[in-house]
């Protein structure tokens, strides 16, 4: 089973030179640390910045410069600042090439639930609904199963949806899977030490397994 860093490392391999990328809070934020050097990508923060840099040193901290997770950050050379309306304009018009975000559940049709648990305090969807409704390419970072072993890759999400038919790829702690338009998870890679059988048992939604499934290469 992959840990959070493992999931982030595997997702980093999906990044291509020249991409504009929006990273959600949590595991997706870690992806930035594993993007191969020499690759030129630009990270978007939906609160109004293209070109997120590393966290600041103590003397660089600027309260007027935060990311969407409200963390203090720096800017890369060539960064640009803009309003929230412009920010979501570029998101909705598909200018962001890749969106990486976490999920509580994903269905075989690519529906995603990641904002609300009935009975628990609802904090809000933030920008997640806009991102999933508009991104050309969405990769989800998630746990394959809940703590009590129930699958989170479902026929149909049980939680309130964030978006419909939008997830294209999943990197879980157990596997890499495509979400096919006809409504199925296509197994692409296994996490180190995880068998196809284990993945089958952990996936409630329709799972397509074709040929030999390789173990993922992380470095």
């Amino acid at each position: 089973m992959l840990d959070k860093v493992g999931i982030a490392k595997r997702i980093a391999k999906e990044v291509r030179d020249g991409m504009y990328i929006n990273l959600g809070i949590g595991i997706p934020t870690l992806v930035a640390n594993y993007i191969p050097g020499g690759m030129h990508v630009v990270l978007q923060s939906e609160n109004g910045l293209l070109g997120i840099g590393p966290f600041p040193t103590e003397d660089q901290i600027d309260p007027d410069l935060i990311n969407a997770g409200k963390q203090t950050i720096t800017m890369m050379p060539g960064a640009a600042l803009f309003s929230s309306a412009e920010s979501f304009g570029m998101i909705r018009s598909g200018k962001v090439d890749l969106t990486i975000l976490g999920a509580m559940e994903v269905s075989e049709r690519g529906d995603i639930a990641n904002w609300k648990i009935p009975g628990k305090m609802v904090k809000g969807m933030g920008g997640a609904m806009d991102l999933v409704a508009s991104a050309k390419n969405i990769i989800v970072a998630m746990q394959h199963c809940s703590k009590d072993g129930a699958s989170k890759l479902l026929k149909k999400c049980s939680l309130p949806l964030t978006g419909m038919n939008c997830v294209k790829k999943i990197v879980s702690d157990m596997a890499v899977l495509n979400v096919l338009p006809e409504g199925a998870f296509q197994l692409l890679e296994r996490a180190p030490g995880i068998s196809v059988e284990q993945i089958k048992n952990a996936t409630e939604g329709k799972l397509i397994i074709e040929g030999e499934i390789p173990e993922m290469i992380l470095n």
């Binding site: 203090t72 309003s83 304009g89 305090m121």
Partner: protein, 232 residues
């Protein structure tokens, strides 16, 4: 040019009446109108509807107005980080309307641009779409969303001039420019207030036509929610 300067935060917000609809700029605690919020605590105005991306934290930002029960309703995209908020919400003292962040930004922008309604894909197929008109354009489904406007918009800028022209700094820009356009009365507090003519017309983010009152704020705390540093 037209002089928009008022003496201080109290003079700026003093006529905000009970049950007014306010917009407050900021994302988290970044770029929030700190001085206006403090002044509202003093006027004691009640029953406010606050349109703001977030609701502050327990002891800062809009959280302060929640603590004094001056807020009747929040319209936001994310309201975490606030225990008092949670308590009031669960007890039914506070009403909350959650809106996807991009839809919130665009609805405010529409309010300031005279566009009463528009279509966005955000929220299609979710509970956000309930009761809303759905249309298909080029094979994709969209929701119709309406403009948002406010009786008073409270924004925070970095620099401003006496004509009301504003420049924001860093990601403290966020919702401030749109909110400045969508207020019947827009009140701007700035860190630096300069005479008209000192700002480069090409670098102004919010033209003075949108700003009705401006004052130099003081004692900015600029609290940080997530202090993250690179350890060298």
């Amino acid at each position: 040019m037209i002089n928009k300067v008022v003496k201080d935060a109290h003079d700026a917000v003093n006529d905000i009446h009970d049950n007014a609809i306010l917009m407050l700029g900021g994302f988290g605690l970044c770029g929030i109108p700190e001085n206006c919020i403090s002044a509202l605590l003093k006027t004691g105005v009640k029953g406010l509807t606050c349109i703001s991306n977030n609701a502050g934290v327990d002891d800062f930002g809009i959280g302060l107005l929640l603590k004094t029960r001056q807020v009747r309703k929040m319209i936001s995209s994310y309201v975490g980080e606030n225990a008092e908020f949670e308590r009031q919400l669960l007890s039914g003292e506070l009403e909350v309307e959650l809106i996807p962040q991009g839809t919130l930004a665009e609805r405010v922008r529409a309010g300031g641009a005279g566009i009463p309604a528009f279509f966005t894909p955000a929220g299609y197929g979710t509970e956000v779409a309930e009761g809303k008109e759905i249309r298909e354009f080029e094979g994709k489904k969209y929701l119709m969303e309406h403009w948002l406007r406010a009786d008073f918009s409270l924004v925070k800028a970095w620099k401003g001039d006496t004509s009301g022209n504003l420049i924001f700094k860093g990601t403290a820009r966020n919702f401030n420019p749109m909110m400045a356009t969508a207020g019947t009365i827009t009140i701007a507090e700035v860190e630096e207030l300069v005479p008209t003519g000192e700002l480069d017309p090409n670098q102004i983010h919010t033209p003075g036509i949108f700003v009705h009152r401006i004052f130099k704020g003081s004692g900015y705390e600029k609290r940080i929610e997530q202090r993250t540093v690179t350890r060298i």
